[in-house]
């Protein structure tokens, strides 16, 4: 049994929506082991993205703890959190979020540059990663000259750049056509199986979720595991 890479205990998140208090996550508990491919499903507004943001240190919980590699990120100040995001997390977004003024290779390198890696080292790694996602020929292309599927593959390469503990994918196929969806899902599954990447993917698409080895449902602020 692999070690725990993520442990969430009694996680509650409350925020204000106008005058109303919204509580998308209530006393949520979750454990994820290294090398697991987890899909989180749930209806719109069920708190999937909120959960992902909390794991990814983009937001702070109201109460409870979130341990990544045994570090409780809920208690870390912003001056430390960026290091967790940089070194432990790899993000894949629905809208790819590539920087339009950088080419494919530079977008992948950006994550490594922020981690302070040297130019030669990061260039080589970026080229390797682009080869992994099948985009060796496209390294000089800026995002606007890539198809959406290709853009998402660049984003996946970028997420892998710093060899993170967890890859967080928020509706990674949400903006893709059917063929691209299949490609991306295959790629993620491959990364998980061949490279042992730990992936937590949020999706509302059952077919996509089916590629994960573990499927969780988020409703009423709590996680329910789908039994195989």
């Amino acid at each position: 049994m692999n070690e725990l890479v993520l442990k969430i205990e009694n996680l509650t998140k409350t925020y204000k929506l106008g005058k109303r208090d919204v509580q998308p996550l209530i006393d949520l508990n979750l454990e994820v082991r290294r090398g697991e491919f987890t899909a989180i499903m749930g209806p719109s507004g069920s708190g999937k993205t909120t959960l992902l943001n909390l794991i990814g240190c983009l937001d702070k919980p109201t109460s409870g703890s979130v341990l990544i590699d045994n570090i409780d990120i809920a208690r870390l100040p912003e001056s430390q959190l960026y290091k967790i995001r940089r070194d432990k997390i790899g993000f894949i977004f629905q809208n790819f979020n590539l920087l339009p003024y950088l080419n494919a290779r530079e977008n992948v390198e950006l994550a490594m540059e922020l981690a302070g890696k040297f130019k030669g080292q990061r260039k080589q790694r970026a080229l390797e990663l682009l080869a992994t996602v099948g985009l060796s020929e496209r390294e000089q292309h800026r995002p606007q000259r890539l198809s959406q599927g290709e853009q998402q593959r660049v984003a996946i390469a970028r997420a892998l750049a710093n060899d993170p503990a967890i890859i967080l994918a928020d509706e990674p196929t949400g903006n893709l056509d059917k063929n691209s969806k299949q490609e991306i899902v295959k790629l993620l599954a491959n990364l998980n199986q061949k490279q042992g990447a730990t992936i937590i993917m949020v999706t509302h698409d059952e077919h996509i979720a089916a590629s994960a080895e573990r499927i969780l449902f988020l409703s009423d602020g709590k996680i329910q595991e789908k039994q195989a």
Binding site: D59, S79, Y82, R86, N97
Partner: protein
């Protein structure tokens, strides 16, 4: 690909916006680099005017002192009747005085010089003979006003001259003589050494040595006026009282009118000096105010453009944060963009400044005043000071290498100043909110 590349590409990505910002900023920075040298050039021009005016004021002041110590002592006019060819001619005449009888004038306290002069005119002659003692070189150099002023041809009289005359232009014309020629006055030939130009207030004199004048008018040992000089302006009235006390018949005239005119001249010069000083101060304060306004406007342009940029790129900031960019990295990136934009504008501004500083200076600053026609003239009976008139003048401005460096430094500073707050805001954006931003 580092922070600099990202900043450059971000600027290049929005070319039209960047171009407009650079045009606006560069014009402002051209003004910034043009103003300091313009102030200096204007001040130099004005300072030159001030120096000229000060010199004029000094000359006027010394003239005032010289004129103010002068007193004319003579006997009251009497009527004189001469037998004419057809009838008797009656004229006013200045009675003559025996010089020896008034030798005590020299001993009056505070008197520096007693100068006997002779003014003689025959009723049928169109001019007056004027005799001045020419035997004392020190006297003549101390009181040049004793001799004719405004010599237009030849030379003036000098110590030791004898048998020579300086003719007023009208007399020279009357006799049809020029410098170097001989003229017969009261039956004796004199060599004309100089011609005195015509002025509003001078008299038509044939000026010669006192002894020559006495000889030809048979008045040896006599004078029509004693010009007495006191040792200072403050003692003039005391000297006058003593003279009248010792010689009750003498009329003592102080050059009051002349004095008033000279004082007026001095006042005018002082006013012009003040005007020049005010202009100089005005140039400096206008320049400083303009530089302040431009600085604020420049910073505001950068502030608003960077605030807009931050707002526009909120999602990008979110992405950068998600990838692990620290607040410092975000702050640095946005500040660098602002500084880079400002620096490019600074370079363009300096180029504009090199070619257009002079035009900008003339548009932006009050023009310095320069002074024309400064001059002092003296005439037979006194001295006139003139300080000309003040006119506005344009200046020529050059941008030095030091100013170019200043311009570059200033644009970096402006860029940093203007982008500090937007960059700080960018750094403070919470990543979850930034990611939601559309």
């Amino acid at each position: 690909m580092g922070i600099l590349t990202r900043a450059t590409r971000n600027i290049a990505r929005r070319k039209t916006r960047a171009l407009l910002v650079i045009v606006a900023l560069s014009l402002a920075l051209a003004m910034i680099v043009s103003i300091p040298p313009s102030i200096t050039a204007s001040q130099e021009a004005t300072q030159k005017t001030i120096d000229n005016l000060t010199t004029a004021a000094k000359i006027v002041a010394s003239t005032v002192n010289m004129a103010a110590t002068q007193m004319d002592c003579n006997l009251p006019l009497t009527l004189r009747t001469d037998a004419g060819p057809y009838h008797n001619e009656t004229t006013f005449e200045r009675p003559l005085m025996n010089i020896t009888e008034y030798s005590n004038l020299t001993y009056v306290q505070h008197v520096t010089y007693v100068v006997p002069v002779l003014e003689q005119r025959a009723y049928d002659w169109p001019y007056t003979v004027y005799g001045v003692p020419l035997d004392d070189a020190t006297l003549l150099s101390s009181y040049p006003i004793l001799l004719p002023a405004n010599i237009t041809a030849g030379r003036n009289l000098q110590a030791g001259d004898s048998g020579v005359v300086v003719l007023h232009e009208r007399i020279a014309n009357h006799f049809g003589v020029a410098v170097g020629e001989t003229v017969n006055i009261f039956g004796r030939d004199f060599e004309v050494v100089g011609i005195e130009g015509q002025e509003a207030l001078n008299t038509t004199y044939a000026t010669m040595s006192l002894s020559d004048a006495q000889a030809i008018t048979n008045t040896t040992g006599q004078a029509s006026t004693f010009i007495v000089f006191a040792d200072s302006v403050d003692n003039v009235y005391a000297v006058k009282e003593q003279i009248v006390g010792a010689y009750p018949k003498l009329t003592v005239t102080i050059a009051q009118t002349l004095l008033n005119q000279v004082y007026q001249m001095q006042r005018q010069t002082n006013e012009q000096l003040q005007q020049a000083h005010e202009t100089m101060n005005q140039i400096e304060s206008t320049g400083i105010v303009e530089m302040g306004i431009i600085t604020i406007a420049d910073s505001a342009i950068i502030l608003f453009i960077m605030l807009y940029t931050v707002r526009e790129r909120t999602k990008e900031i979110g992405t950068l944060k998600a990838l692990g960019a620290s607040n410092t990295t975000i702050l640095g990136q946005f500040m660098l963009e602002g500084v880079l934009l400002s620096l490019i504008a600074g370079i363009v501004g300096i180029v504009i400044g090199i070619f257009g500083a002079t035009s900008l200076a003339n548009i932006l600053l009050p023009q310095p005043i320069t002074q024309t026609g400064i001059g002092i003239t003296t005439s037979g009976s006194g001295t006139w000071g003139g300080s000309g008139s003040l006119t506005a003048a344009s200046i020529s401005v050059t941008i030095t290498p030091e100013l170019m460096l200043f311009g570059l430094g200033f644009s970096v500073l402006l860029g940093a100043l203007g982008s500090l707050y937007p960059a700080w805001r960018a750094a403070r954006i919470r990543p979850a909110e930034a990611m939601r931003y559309e």
